[in-house]
């Protein structure tokens, strides 16, 4: 299933393979100095690409094969590349022409080995080897063993097969959860999703033993989330892909995976490396890079006259250390060679002791400050120390926020950047013609300027988010403006998560005196928390509401409410406590820092549940007297 180089379409993109000759020199020299002259023969390797040079899949695999060959032969290899261009010229007449052309071109440079990338190049060279490379060994890659069997290749033509093997992902799961009683396999309703389900049904059938297996498909995303949440920890949840759910809603599989895994009751696995970091414990996958490396290794062995036979491209086991920890699974139980991500501690984990100390210190200092309120002489010094530490913590928090939003920021930036590039290239092309349409070029320049501003604004906001303070930058500003700037930072993330945002600022200004960046961080922390709380809500019901108000006691108030699960009654008082979190991926610091900031500026912050469901977090700051 999902074998990389096989595209069942009319324009399939097949795998590239690069052929590589290994130099015999090093090996033979080591064995016998008497063979030294043979060593001087640099092997000639022809890499056959099925299409043109711009197909990414073949390029990645080809580059990786090439690098491996150069490395294994210390550069003593002669590499040739030919692009058969068979997607644009599939006709037999072209195939014959290419065969004649290559036969003639290489008449004095017969290759010692040919690497064929993909099914079409493999068929081509298998058919025409006598005229093009009569004495060459042939290795291939980029498709599955089943496809290879259908090609009826000669016995001496061997290859590196790409097989996405779902049983390996299952095996990883069973090693981690030897006492699992149930396996749940989940997939969406798209054709691609269904092909995966069929593949899993067929291949997992004999392996599950006493484990009861359930296939979850034909459900809506909300039903998927609900069913996954209802699973217990002794279940293995295997999520394939959800491109489309039963209601016809579309997803990026990675996002669907995250939605499901974040509240799943059972450890969740999947067959793509891009699921790592989005809630997957781990899985087994095939990369284009390893396709190239594997076929290059076959080539190296063949050139060294070692016996070679068909191999599978090694699948890579991938895992996420944080998820192992979440589920109490042991890293030692992972299959050997598993690439474990997120092993290094996060900034928070690494510095948690320091941060705790700092926060405790800040709290203590605040108390001291209060006690010393009237001892003005001492007060200034103490406050300075406390502030310095708080500023450090806030900056860590700012960086974490920027990191969490980086994917949506990158996406957002790529739109204006892409438009600018297209416009610039169009204008350049037009200017090279005889009578350029200057009016149109003027319009293009206006658009470029606007898009440049759009990109600049995004970066400006990001910069504001990362700005480090060595001391508080006191400013007077309208708190409504900060609410709006925080929303600009969050809007594409909200969009990505399907959260509707509603902002209702007061008509009148609410001037406060504080560091703008800090107040913005308070709003970001509360709003991010609120969005996280809505992960389980039905998409249509995910609403984030931001209100500002003037309180009766003449303070500026901001309240941020969500339509999420609310805060369990007994925990209402604890949400601002250090490391208190109800989320699997939470650091438990966002609201604590929010409180520290608000209190620094003489304000107050509190949380409540809403009668209609969901939670609201509010804070007030003293108004500047005008």
């Amino acid at each position: 299933m999902a074998r990389d180089f096989e595209a069942p379409s009319r324009r399939p993109i097949r795998g590239p393979v690069r052929v590589f000759w290994i130099s015999l020199l090093a090996i033979l020299a080591a064995v016998s100095a008497g063979l030294a002259e043979i060593v001087d023969l640099v092997p000639r390797v022809l890499i056959l690409y099925p299409y043109d040079e711009r197909i990414p899949a073949t390029t990645i695999a080809g580059e990786s094969a090439r690098n491996r060959l150069l490395e294994a032969t210390a550069g003593k290899i002669e590499l040739f590349s030919e692009f058969l261009d068979l997607s644009r010229f599939p006709e037999n007449v072209h195939v014959d022409r290419m065969a004649r052309y290559l036969a003639e071109k290489y008449v004095d440079h017969r290759p010692d080995l040919v690497i064929a990338l993909g099914e079409e190049a493999t068929s081509f060279i298998a058919t025409n080897r006598k005229t093009i490379a009569p004495h060459a060994k042939i290795v291939f890659c980029g498709f599955s063993g089943a496809t290879a069997a259908s090609l009826n290749l000669p016995d001496d033509v061997v290859g590196a097969f790409s097989e996405f093997d779902i049983t390996k992902t299952f095996e990883m799961a069973i090693r981690l959860q030897p006492n699992a009683r149930q396996l749940v396999v989940l997939g969406g309703s798209a054709k691609f999703d269904q092909a995966w389900i069929a593949d899993a049904r067929q291949n997992l059938a004999g392996l599950t033993g006493n484990i009861e297996t359930t296939y979850l498909t034909g459900l809506s995303i909300d039903e998927f989330i609900e069913r996954a949440a209802g699973l217990s920890e002794d279940v293995i949840l295997l999520v394939l892909t959800v491109f489309v759910d039963s209601t016809g809603r579309n997803f990026i599989p990675q996002d669907a995976f995250e939605k499901i895994s974040v509240t799943a009751g059972a450890p969740t696995y999947g067959p793509y490396s891009t699921y790592i970091g989005h809630g997957a414990v781990g899985g087994n996958t095939v990369t284009f890079e390893s396709v190239g490396t594997t076929v290059a290794n076959l080539a190296v062995d063949a050139l060294a006259e070692k016996p070679v036979s068909n191999v599978d491209v090694p699948q890579t086991y991938v895992a996420d250390a944080r998820q192992l920890q979440r589920w109490g699974l042991a890293e030692v139980d992972l299959p050997s060679g598993t690439v474990v991500s997120f092993k290094e501690k996060s900034l928070w984990e690494e510095y948690w002791a320091e941060i705790t100390t700092i926060i405790a210190f800040v709290a203590a200092q605040s108390f001291v400050i209060a006690a010393l309120l009237f001892e003005r002489g001492r007060r200034a010094a103490v406050e300075l120390t406390a502030r310095g530490r708080l500023l450090e913590v806030i900056h860590l928090n700012q960086s974490a926020t920027a990191g969490a939003l980086s994917a949506s920021i990158a996406h957002e930036l790529n739109q204006p950047l892409g438009a600018i590039r297209n416009n610039a290239e169009a204008a350049e092309f037009m200017l090279n013609r005889d009578k350029p349409d200057l009016k149109l070029i003027k319009q293009i320049l206006v658009d470029i300027r606007d898009d440049d501003k759009r990109a600049g604004d995004i970066i400006q906001r990001l910069r504001g988010l990362l700005k480090k303070r060595s001391e508080i930058d006191w400013q007077e500003f309208d708190i409504n403006d900060v609410v709006k700037s925080a929303l600009q930072i969050l809007h594409s993330e909200a969009e990505r998560r399907g959260v509707a945002v509603d902002c209702r600022p007061t008509a009148r200004q609410l001037p406060v005196r504080a560091d703008r960046v800090h107040i913005q961080q308070v709003i970001l922390n509360i709003a991010t928390n609120a969005m996280d709380a809505m992960l389980d809500s039905a998409p249509a019901q995910r609403r984030l509401l931001l209100l500002t108000d003037l309180t009766e006691s003449s303070k500026a108030a901001v309240s941020i409410s969500d339509t999420g699960t609310g805060i369990p009654g007994d925990q209402l008082g604890r949400v601002f406590d250090t490391f208190f979190t109800t989320k699997s991926n939470g650091t438990g610091l966002g609201l604590t820092i929010a409180r520290a900031i608000v209190e620094t500026y003489g304000g107050k912050i509190w949380a409540d549940n809403l009668p209609q469901g969901g939670a609201v977090v509010s804070f007030v700051l003293p108004l500047v007297k005008v």
């Binding site: 990389d4 595209a7 579309n250 790529n414 416009n423 898009d451 759009r454």
Partner: protein, 127 residues
């Protein structure tokens, strides 16, 4: 040399991005039909003479991938070039499997898009 320009449909929700692609294609001598969504493309004028589709993957409503599947299911021969601002392996592999002439990540060099379109149109019986 050719009798009339070949037509490319561009399905993209970002107005500025859509406009820039149109200009680029116009500059290279292609006619362009613009659509802000997959639904708008499906409801296009029956007289539409688009011969290939440049298709954003992440659209409001129906996604580009879903549109591709529907076109295939309906037996449409229109070749598709995908472009997207998001990087996701599963999306890329699905796009390749659904069938496309090219898969471009924004921002992309004009050359890649133009080459892909020429390639797409070369497979289409002319006029």
């Amino acid at each position: 040399m050719e009798s009339r320009p070949q037509t490319v449909a561009v399905v993209e929700d970002d107005p500025s991005m859509r406009r820039s692609v149109r200009r680029l294609l116009n500059a290279y001598g292609f006619a362009v039909e613009e659509f802000p969504s997959a639904e708008a493309f499906l409801g296009r004028d029956p007289d539409s003479c688009a011969e290939c589709v440049v298709l954003d993957i992440h659209l409001p409503g129906m996604s580009g991938l879903e549109l591709r599947s529907r076109l295939t299911a309906a037996g449409s021969p229109l070749p598709v070039i995908f472009f997207t601002a998001i990087d996701d392996d599963a999306v890329r592999i699905a796009a390749l499997q659904l069938g496309c002439v090219a898969f471009l990540r924004k921002p992309f060099p004009a050359e890649l898009l133009i080459d892909a379109i020429i390639k797409a149109l070369s497979g289409v019986p002319s006029r």
